[in-house]
């Protein structure tokens, strides 16, 4: 009997908390966005700068996710299939972005590529723009999101062990064939899950990107930065309308995540 009461209380508290802290604010974003009617909403969403910001967000997210997926697979493969000195250190280093505030990550790149940075002369010579330009935004996004993919696949690869790969290698299969035929099918759901989490995080990244972007409207503004600018200009309806784009994208990703999670569990991974 007692456990039943505890159960009800715990479930209620969880729902109230999540409702009050997450669902209510998120739905108010949508409500606010539509406050001045559909027309105003459409105007805000299809505003030239908003579209450009959305475009840049998608570019930055896709580049970061692609690179981090590649890197994540390499890192996870290295860590789980080989024994070497400093393996533990590498595993820990991968997690650094989880621990460091994104603003600091942004400042790091300013210190490297900015006017005061040690690499400034070099990149200036070859006319490469990083700070206050799109490459900087992509770099910042990569930095903050790079543990996601490797974190998801390392446990799966670990649990698989090396036997199957060894068996294939003994029969003469080369590294690529082993990866394609044995490792990849095994980790595909975990990989997809990691990619989705990485995408979600990359899309919403604010801190690091904010430092590196320079807030040039139409040039280096991503959606989250655009929202901030609109908000600072007291253009609340537009700010919320643009926010709603992010919210909708997030919901789509959540749904995708759930599908992948369900399929992955069915396949016995994750």
């Amino acid at each position: 009997m007692k456990s039943k009461i505890t159960r009800i209380i715990l479930i209620t508290v969880s729902f109230i908390f999540i409702g009050g802290m997450l669902v209510l604010p998120l739905s108010s974003v949508i409500v606010y966005a539509l406050r001045d009617g559909i027309k105003a909403y459409k105007e805000a969403v299809f505003d030239e700068y908003t579209v450009k910001a959305l475009y840049l967000t998608i570019i930055a997210t896709m580049s970061a996710v692609a690179l981090n997926t590649l890197f994540g697979i390499f890192a996870a493969w290295t860590i789980t299939k080989f024994n070497f000195r400093g393996k533990q250190l590498l595993t820990t280093l991968i997690d650094i972005p989880f621990a460091i505030s994104p603003v600091i990550a942004g400042l790091l790149f300013i210190l490297i590529f900015g006017r005061v940075g040690w690499a400034y002369d070099f990149i200036e010579k070859y006319n490469i723009k990083i700070v206050f330009a799109i490459p900087g935004i992509i770099l910042a996004t990569i930095f903050v999101t790079f543990p996601f993919v490797s974190r998801e696949i390392i446990p799966v690869l670990n649990s698989q062990g090396k036997d199957e790969e060894e068996a294939a290698a003994l029969m003469g299969a080369d590294g690529f064939k082993i990866f394609r035929k044995i490792t990849l099918p095994h980790m595909k759901w975990a990989l997809l899950y990691g990619v989705i989490l990485c995408t979600a995080r990359a899309m919403g990244e604010f801190g690091a990107v904010s430092v590196l972007s320079g807030h040039l409207r139409g040039k280096t503004n991503t959606l989250p930065l655009h929202v901030e600018i609109l908000y600072n200009e007291f253009n609340l309806t537009s700010a919320f309308a643009v926010s709603s784009i992010l919210v909708i994208m997030a919901i789509i990703i959540l749904i995708l995540r759930n599908i992948v999670e369900y399929k992955g569990k069915k396949a016995g991974e994750l």
Binding site: D163, E164, E166, A167, A169, L170, M171, A173
Partner: protein
């Protein structure tokens, strides 16, 4: 000699996995590498396969030193402990994998795989995935997969460890028969002496990274070469003061002895007709039913001995005083074992092993 290991050493950090390992294997033989866990038997197997590199020493197969030959060019089939079947491939694709890598034609692959599936008796299961197979079936597929590219040498790492007791028995004879039929030189690793004795033509016993003894199962059983083998093989009890037992004189500097249950016979007190003078008196301490026989712990002069009795024998009870005849025992010092016969029994041994 077909497979030769010459003075192989291998360490993992401070752990010496192989310590001057030296042995030879004849072509066509089925060899059991037997030893307790951590004795270095799997390391030996993995070095022959090319999955580990020895620190020093030579591995020779068919007259060629293969230390520097990559694993996949050694012509070796390997059956992993947990089979390591490719879980996202069907039975057919698993067996075909090695052939595909060798770029055999589709038709050739199909014929070979079907031939092997027939050999292992799994016709009709070609399209199943590993998780849809029983332990015994997985074992068979792993065996077929290792054989598919026609290796010259088959290595099996604990081939029966992951299978339940009942199927294991059946698979042992199956595997022995298969290997004989294919006629391939094979080495398998096991920690189970019963398995090694039953399956292998020859046994190599390892301990602490060293080879203790090599010989046929009967040789090893009858003439254990080292103290370790004497204790490891059979159901051995170690006793310290064997001189206290009738008919055994203490050899100089040798204090320990090993007795196996089959060296002892227990009789009801009044039933002993022969060797009455040689028999000791003992008290039954414990009787355990082992399924097809009784294991009896009996105390003789403060030494606890383990003996067996069949179900046909007259029942004895705990606490009963019985006559205990000890035919022989092994004594050993640091390096060697010696067989001691009970010298109060003039007759030749009435028991054969």
């Amino acid at each position: 000699m077909y497979v030769e290991l010459k003075n192989i050493n291998k360490s993992f950090g401070d752990f010496k996995a192989s310590d001057h390992v030296d042995f030879q294997i004849e072509k066509g033989k089925l060899i059991g590498l037997l030893g307790p866990s951590g004795s270095g038997k799997t390391t030996i197997l993995r070095m022959i396969a090319g999955l580990e590199m020895p620190d020093s020493g030579d591995i020779i197969i068919d007259g060629t030193r293969i230390n520097d030959v990559p694993a996949n060019e050694r012509g070796i089939g390997f059956v992993f402990q947990n089979y390591a079947l490719f879980r996202y491939m069907t039975v057919f694709d698993n067996i075909a994998f090695g052939l595909e890598i060798q770029k055999k034609s589709k038709k050739e692959i199909k014929n070979r795989v079907n031939e092997l599936i027939k050999l292992i008796g799994l016709e009709g299961l070609e399209k199943r995935y590993p998780h849809q197979l029983s332990g015994g079936q997985k074992q068979r597929v792993a065996f077929a997969r290792a054989l598919a590219p026609n290796p010259h040498l088959l290595l099996l790492d604990e081939p029966f460890a992951a299978i339940d007791a009942k199927v294991r028995q059946e698979l042992r004879s199956w595997l022995k028969e298969m290997i004989e039929r294919v006629g391939i030189t094979s080495i398998f690793v096991t920690h189970d002496q019963e398995e090694a004795i039953e399956v292998a033509d020859e046994i190599i016993i390892t301990n602490h990274g060293r080879v203790e003894q090599k010989g046929s199962p009967i040789e090893i059983y009858k003439n254990p070469g080292t103290p370790f083998v004497a204790q490891f093989i059979g159901q051995s009890t170690i006793i310290e003061n064997y001189g206290a037992l009738k008919g055994f004189e203490v050899l100089k500097n040798i204090e320990k002895a090993v007795i196996r249950p089959e060296f002892i016979s227990i009789s009801k007190k009044s039933r002993l007709k022969q060797y009455i003078s040689a028999a000791e008196e003992g008290t039954v301490e414990k009787i355990s039913f082992r399924g097809s026989y009784l294991e009896v712990k009996v105390r003789v002069k403060d030494i606890i001995l383990t003996a067996t009795r069949t179900m046909e024998d007259e029942l004895i009870e705990v606490g009963e005083t019985v006559s205990v005849l000890i035919y022989r025992l092994y004594v050993f010092d640091e390096n060697k074992t010696y067989l001691l016969e009970n010298n109060t029994m003039e007759d030749k041994n009435p028991v054969f092993i």
